[in-house]
Symmetry: C2
């Protein structure tokens, strides 16, 4: 359940950093972005009434695209999102590039930006703080701190989160998950919460534990699955944020076969296969060297979609 | 000592993938590459008679630079290297970009290219093989496989090395290090060697164990320290490849305080501080968000340079 004064009201204006944020794929070929398919994915999310759409998250292949492609994808997302706010990922290896991408995102009409400390040479805590300091000082929209050690190979401490959250324009923290036991999840979220300004929301990611995270006090779910299958993710979010933990857990439990595929193959390749199966994108749609799941694994995905009645 | 028919002869033409390959920094500011300083670094290595110069390795900040900057750095390296062969790093997150960078490197006059499987989404072995397959098929110069799990977060098996080494144009493998015990180092190198075509050399990296690696049968040292301090690295290489393991070990042992700094702070930031201390580059020279070492650590670097008589 949401804590403090940040009570969630469905559709309320201004609560951009609460509720369900859906992360669509950016379907690509070696020639470029499939703009028609991308526009379709975004329009579908807007029609489902997700609370926000995050274009160019990890699921949206942001680090694989060139600056001009990213600017174009940001514009397309805003164009197809209607009145649903759009957040745009601006992560890049170099501060210089992040600054340029922030400008492009703002020009495209983003309601906020999402920034992960992407690394090649391992970064120190002071270097990561410096990155957020350099970038937030120039922003005219709010920023989500994107804590994703699986891809950035940087691990935040709660203390570093607190230092960064005190910078101007920081609106939310996307945490990589919560412990599976509800009591531990609650104390993990409370500890982080106690270090943050009141205005900064905490959003859970790692879809298999999203219900646990929302039930433990996260105000938002930054969701991979919602970018392709918004309805079941909305059901979990609406129940959890209305205080109905049991319904949220039951719906998440029902989706367990899907979470098992995510755990086995990574959510990125699995949602790509789902989007293909639903006819939303063509094959292949991931940026090489990343490849689609092998045929046998794709058959598993198809079977799970049918079993869960998510194939239409 | 070099094994099989690949006996090392100092200065012998054609042995591009044997001996000492020096990796210079690419000094940068937020405005771009310091071309004058970079040309100076390369010229210094050529004058020291290293066996090859690898521009745009990890030490050369390749993933932080734009395509045009990388093309320019490759051209400058060839221009300032005289008759010393130049290898050029072509790693990037996306196959499309790697192909373009390979073209640029070849056009600049590179004698070979160096390719690491840079990742954001974790890559499978088949995806990494696919990357090398896509790229080597189009090359007109030899390729070094760059195995650097510390920065790419991909771990090669020897079996994958063998599959890749059988592709056309693969000339060498840059392994990330060897076990510290000489007997274990030898069996590690022999095992890999037994899986590779005769023409493919093995080069050690991880400077603190380079003498051990060369003594264990590696034909090359892909060296961070040699990019800034070529002489002591040449002393180790010449001794080891002439079969004088004791002299190689003694020289490496003498440099232990330097290796300790590498281990503590990472070789990237330490060689940057050394190059500054020697007046070869200005301050700062690393790509943000990466920062120079803090003042106290820089004082340690200065002290070690003086103690080892490497400060001139």
């Amino acid at each position: 359940m949401a804590t403090g004064s940040r009570v969630y009201v469905e559709g309320e204006v201004g609560l951009v950093f609460s509720g369900l944020s859906a992360f669509p794929l950016t379907p690509v070929s070696e020639d470029g972005v499939d703009e028609v398919a991308f526009g379709g994915l975004v329009g579908r999310l807007a029609a489902a009434r997700v609370d926000s759409i995050t274009a160019l998250g990890s699921t949206g292949s942001y680090p694989y695209l060139e600056r001009a492609e990213r600017a174009r994808v940001a514009r397309l997302a805003v164009e197809h999102a209607g009145d649903v706010p759009v957040l745009v990922g601006i992560g890049a290896l170099r501060t210089r590039e992040v600054r340029a991408l922030a400008e492009d995102a703002q020009r495209a009409g983003a309601a906020g930006v999402l920034l992960a400390p992407v690394s090649y040479q391992a970064l120190t805590a002071d270097e990561v703080f410096g990155l957020y300091e350099d970038v937030t000082g120039e922003l005219s929209v709010p920023l989500v701190v994107y804590d994703n050690p699986g891809t950035t190979h940087f691990t935040f401490t709660d203390e570093l989160h607190a230092r960064i959250a005190a910078l101007p324009n920081v609106a939310s923290i996307k945490i990589p998950g919560v412990p599976p036991a509800p009591a531990e999840a609650e104390s993990r979220v409370s500890r982080l919460r106690s270090l943050l300004p009141e205005s900064v929301t905490i959003g859970v990611s790692g879809d298999p534990l999203a219900a646990t995270g929302l039930n433990a006090g996260c105000e938002a779910w930054y969701s991979v699955v919602a970018g392709t299958l918004p309805e079941p993710a909305l059901a979990i979010t609406r129940a959890a944020l209305a205080g109905d933990a049991a319904t949220a857990n039951a719906e998440s439990e029902r989706l367990r076969p899907l979470w098992e595929l995510f755990t086995r193959h990574g959510s990125f390749r699995v949602v790509s296969a789902i989007a293909e199966q639903l006819g939303l994108v063509s094959h292949p749609n991931l940026p090489r060297p990343v490849r689609a799941l092998p045929e046998a694994d794709r058959a598993d995905v198809t079977r799970v979609l049918h079993d869960l009645d998510l194939h239409r």
